[in-house]
Symmetry: C3
Subunit: 150 residues, 3 copies
Amino acid sequence: MPTYECYTHRGQVDAAAKAQLAAGIAQIHHEVTGAPIMLSQCIFHTLDPDDHFIGGQPAPANGVWVHGHIRSKPTGDRNKRITAGITDLLTRTLQISSSAVWVYLSELSPGDMVEFGHALPEPGAERSWFDNLPPNVHNQLVTPDHALGA
Amino acid sequence: MPTYECYTHRGQVDAAAKAQLAAGIAQIHHEVTGAPIMLSQCIFHTLDPDDHFIGGQPAPANGVWVHGHIRSKPTGDRNKRITAGITDLLTRTLQISSSAVWVYLSELSPGDMVEFGHALPEPGAERSWFDNLPPNVHNQLVTPDHALGA
Amino acid sequence: MPTYECYTHRGQVDAAAKAQLAAGIAQIHHEVTGAPIMLSQCIFHTLDPDDHFIGGQPAPANGVWVHGHIRSKPTGDRNKRITAGITDLLTRTLQISSSAVWVYLSELSPGDMVEFGHALPEPGAERSWFDNLPPNVHNQLVTPDHALGA
């Protein structure tokens, strides 16, 4: 149910690394929230050297920023577990210090999010939402081995 | 009063299609909210094939995501009507299945938005806000046939 | 503690102008909020002519949009002072009319923001947060003459 935007420097991540990060972020979001992996979107932005500043100075060449847009939910440490998981993923996958990592989460109301053409359900109502999708969408999405993480 | 960011794949939309989508989104926002068409901004981002993932896998080549940033307002189904309208616009204009469409809306306080150099009015106070703009801006914006949608 | 995304047209800002804007925005944010300059991030997006629309029409070639993502804080006119400061900075630096300027601020919870690999403190707890950073990060960040703005 989320979209994560990843900002990396040109040349910092190749297609394989992007795939690894996208899969890793989807997995982290799934493990923390229980939301189906199939409903995680990940988008990459490429930054040129003069596009990124920290403290009013050019940012380090290995600096990365991930900005997630997720369903709001009044739960304790959900968001901290997501940001910590992504920080760890980035440092391991990109072989960078955690000090090069920025991660933000912005929350949206489920009713303000359309995915696969359908407004999202409230948290907890995912399965019935899945079951009520039109057959062509439902069949495309529900692969029991990973889509629902069951 | 909104800004809509549109993420499409390289080669998916040409300049004419972008113009059609931008005009269509501005029209939908105007019809649902009553906000002047002139105050709708639309920005396009181009995604390369390895920039877009869904479910941890490469996204379909016809996948689109629209992320709107709009004034918050405590009204019933306003946002659902906007997201449904944009979903319909995208499927018709781009000739894609609705299952390829994602739309998110994020809400901002009017006081946190500057357009044409001026902080936005609270909802409902648009006309006096318009009337109080400096003459050079006012004249540029107010064209009775479409700017206020009157 | 913020990230500001700046959208300008291709050819509108060179590397020097970007550096000037990034430094200016970081300074404005620091002066209004007291947050350390070192914790301001600025990212530039380049818009091609057919990527930017206002009112459903192509936007003026000198149009700029700044979208800041900042820590939420229940304070009076903080955000208005930031957006006004950035509007002024853009008009002076880019020699454009204020009517070409759009600025939005989106608020996030401090716990939803990781910078330099560490979740942000609540407003007011910055100094102890700084003092508790691992030595390698702490030494990198704390330069008494500007990092804390003391």
